[in-house]
Symmetry: C2
Subunit: 154 residues, 2 copies
């Protein structure tokens, strides 16, 4: 049967996964963040089948994660560029990369690190923080399931 869809889920994580939660979509976004823009480049870098790449790019464009831009004089050459919505996945991608590096370090030991362009210093681990910027673990947060509970907490 069809893969279940989460479009109408009232869970925003489920809805987010509906847009970027399959095997390829987030990797496409990742490579777009590294500068890839052309169909053939995505194809070669990811080793993805062309029909699947077509499908994923179209979905990402539909969901406004990417924009398809005509380049070249007479059209028919395109670039896929991140929208603001797409760039806004940066913390997600970085958090996932850091998790992967921490718990499944690369066999070769060398892990591609991200640095502050201005200073050359490595970036911080991405964490969940309170208003004061202190790191919170899962035990330090509570879920305000409904507005009433949220109200009570204020």
């Amino acid at each position: 049967m069809a893969r279940k869809r989460f479009d109408d889920s009232n869970c925003s994580v489920a809805r987010a996964l509906n847009e970027v939660g399959d095997w390829w979509s987030l990797l496409i976004v990742l490579h777009a963040m590294y500068g890839t823009r052309r169909f053939v480049d995505f194809q070669q870098q990811l080793g993805i089948a062309k029909n699947i790449l077509c499908d994923r790019l179209a979905k990402l464009v539909d969901n406004e994660v990417l924009r398809k831009v005509e380049v070249g004089e007479h059209g028919s050459r395109f670039e896929y560029r991140l929208t603001e919505k797409g760039r806004d996945l940066f913390p997600v991608v970085v958090a996932l990369r850091q998790w992967g590096d921490k718990w499944n370090p690369s066999p070769e030991g060398q892990q591609l690190d991200l640095r502050d362009r201005a200073t050359g210093q490595p970036i911080r681990p991405v964490t969940v923080q309170n208003k004061e910027g202190e790191t919170l673990t899962i035990r330090d947060v509570l879920v305000a399931e409904d507005l009433q509970a949220a109200k009570d907490a204020e």
Copy 2:
């Protein structure tokens, strides 16, 4: 043909997606973070087929994201609990939730928010930060592809 696997990819994001990158796995982790531990509860809350749930739980246990714990007097009753590795996905899940809330707000308008248990205050948006705690966009970071480049930047 079979879905492509990324076990041996030298990209840690790809390897991370290999463990939690399909439709259900991250939702299972999410619900585990909200306190779900039992097979039947996952099944009912997610509306997932039992065979798929079985498969995903087993994979998450294999990958040490969850631990399968015998409960009940004579075994044969189990709980699936997050390991440290699993709990460490917290920033990923929260970042994804915030992205979903921002760009695909719930149709009902009510979005489940997370608060600092100690103060009741909402948490901050998850961001990528430099050593000083300043938020960095994708344009503010550079990728030190290899150690040499990293050296040069120091």
